[in-house]
């Protein structure tokens, strides 16, 4: 009988905080600036420069800790982690080892097998490194320090996950919590959320953990799923062959769907941590903690419940609407204006999702204003425009954020409510299409649809299709 193996996974998740400035200097954290235009002596590690802690970083870290049921460390400190690499100009990273700001939390995840608590060992604050670009021509590397000193929190989970499904549910949960807090946009593709996967396998029933490896370079949920499956297989195969898993860091190559051991751990992993002498400790008072607690926004679970109760939105729709902070914000803002939650939900669930998908975008990329969506709903409800015109106008709202009222006016898209004019047009269409009229009278329902279509075309889409139907049926009696 072949042995059964269990996969044990713990995650280290790095999240770039949404502060305006870096963690220890007042350089901008804006993404995409020309190389090295957001740097100063502090974030390039010039001798003699001194770091000063950004208060907002501490507040975001506390907020994330509170939202993940952590204990906030009331007396917290920074430490120096020493290593040499050109993306780290100081030759050390300022991080937290001995007194991280948050400890002992958990989040609850939902998977097909039910709900489960995933423990959070700790959350600490640290600085990001610069970016290395490898220059093929000169056989050298080029360094951009714009990212050096961008604030990060590292969320270290307990080894509580057993499958890729649980890992993804956990990451999704963290992403939503952090987005709702406004502490980060958590985009895996852009690197504002990065996950390292620690994975080991053991025989089912074994008490001890197996030897683990750490996998880096995972920048999408799909890559994470594939990497976990790949690494699990690799380790099981090694064990089956009677070989050992070596504790090492591996780099996942999603194109090749395989991983390889990274620059060597024969370089000793000895970071010689010591208390950071350039930064004083952080004391968190009861008042400060209460202040942060009082500012915690409504998180997803609460919103989900409220949408169902207050707006009578079905579970599935509420899941989608609260599945991203931007979507939930859009829903609430538009609903506040037009007071029609179900209509707003419908536009977001159907047309908005369709257009996002078409453009290959995420809800975070929505650029239109809730006022314009609310106005559109009112125009459609008042019968000023018909539903197909409304869809057309919405596409322009979605892409260009046009004001629907002005747009409808300018393009002359208002529904023609002049029954006399409509009747005249329909009479003309009926006279011009004797075959269809005969077909309809002969029992072909479809022929009516053709006549409605012809009328709408003639009216340039501005007629009320219900009305057209009604008049047609009356004329063809």
């Amino acid at each position: 009988m072949s042995k059964q193996y269990e996969t044990v996974i713990g995650l280290e998740v790095h999240v770039e905080l949404a502060t305006k400035t870096k963690i220890f200097c007042s350089c901008s954290t804006a993404f995409g600036g020309a190389p090295n235009t957001h740097t100063c002596p502090v974030c390039t590690g010039m001798p003699g420069s001194l770091p000063v802690l950004n208060k907002k970083v501490v507040e975001y870290a506390m907020a994330v800790g509170l939202a993940t049921n952590c204990t906030i460390t009331r007396h917290s400190k920074f430490d120096r982690k020493n290593y040499f690499y050109p993306d780290n100009p100081q030759n050390y990273q300022i991080s937290q080892l001995y007194a991280p700001i948050c400890r002992d939390g958990y989040v609850e995840i939902e998977t097909e097998t039910g709900s489960k608590k995933i423990g959070i060992h700790e959350i600490h604050m640290e600085e990001d490194a610069g970016k290395l670009i490898h220059d093929e021509w000169e056989d050298c590397s080029l360094v951009d320090y714009n990212r050096s000193g961008v604030p990060l929190i590292e969320i270290v989970s307990e080894p509580d996950m057993r499958s890729a499904e649980e890992v993804i549910a956990y990451l999704d949960k963290l992403r939503l919590i952090i987005q709702y807090l406004g502490a980060s946009d958590c985009k895996l593709q852009e690197g504002s959320m990065r996950a390292d996967v620690n994975l080991s396998v053991r025989e089912v029933g074994a008490k001890e953990f197996g030897t683990r490896t750490e996998m880096k370079n995972l920048n999408s949920f799909k890559a994470i799923g594939r990497a976990i499956e790949g690494e699990r297989q690799r380790q099981i195969e090694l064990l089956k062959e009677g070989r050992q898993v070596i504790q090492e860091t591996r780099r996942w190559d999603d194109n090749k769907e395989s991983s390889h051991a990274m620059r060597s751990k024969e370089d000793a992993q000895d970071y010689r941590y010591f208390p950071e002498p350039d930064l004083v400790p952080i004391d968190i008072s009861e008042e400060w903690l209460e202040e942060i607690k009082a500012c915690q926004p409504e998180l997803r679970t609460e919103k989900l419940k409220r949408y169902k109760e207050e707006f009578e939105i079905p579970e599935y729709d509420a899941q989608i609407l609260t599945g991203s902070k931007q979507m939930a914000d859009m829903f609430e803002a538009a609903t506040a204006i037009c007071k029609k939650p179900k209509k707003v939900s419908n536009w977001l669930m159907v047309e908005t999702m369709r257009l996002l998908k078409e453009a290959g975008q995420e809800p975070e990329d929505m650029r239109f204003s809730p006022e314009h969506l609310a106005k559109l709903i009112e125009l459609a409800d008042a019968g000023t425009i018909n539903s197909s015109v409304a869809k057309e106008v919405f596409e322009h709202i979605f892409h260009e954020d046009v004001d629907p009222e002005k747009y409808v006016e300018e393009k002359g898209l208002k529904t023609v409510n002049d029954e006399g004019a409509l009747r005249e047009t329909i009479e003309r269409i009926v006279a011009a299409n004797p075959q269809s009229v005969a077909d309809y009278k002969g029992g072909k329902e479809k022929a009516l649809g053709f006549l409605v279509g012809q009328t709408m075309k003639e009216m340039k889409g501005k007629a009320n299709p219900g009305k057209v139907n009604e008049i047609l049926k009356e004329l063809l009696k």
Binding site: K20, T21, S28, A34, C40, V52, V58, V143, V280, D283
Partner: protein
């Protein structure tokens, strides 16, 4: 000297600090480190049970900055410190992962 530093230790510490030491320098460093550890042993004679480890000399905490951008683009000035520059970036020996 009670603490004797082995050749392996000094070699290892040298690698960590990215230092290349001559044989003479290694001997001198071994002696220095031995004396430092002797001093630590001396400190260890004190009973520190119940004493909070100290990380800072001054009783100061919570020195913060507000989250406001104050630094502008000083790229040229910053790059003046670089040994070599290309395309607005610091040029360094090739590093491979």
């Amino acid at each position: 000297m009670a603490n004797i530093i082995s050749d392996e230790t000094i070699e290892y510490v040298g690698i960590l600090a990215k230092l290349e030491l001559s044989d003479e320098e290694k001997e001198a460093a071994k002696k220095d480190m031995g004396r430092m550890l002797d001093y630590i042993d001396k400190l260890n004679e004190l009973d520190t049970a119940g004493v909070e480890p100290m990380s800072h000399v001054f009783p100061v905490s919570n020195v913060f900055r507000e989250d406001q951008v104050e630094n502008g683009d000083d790229r040229e000035e910053m790059l003046a410190n670089a040994p070599k520059v290309k395309d607005g970036m610091y040029m360094v020996p090739k590093t491979v992962e």
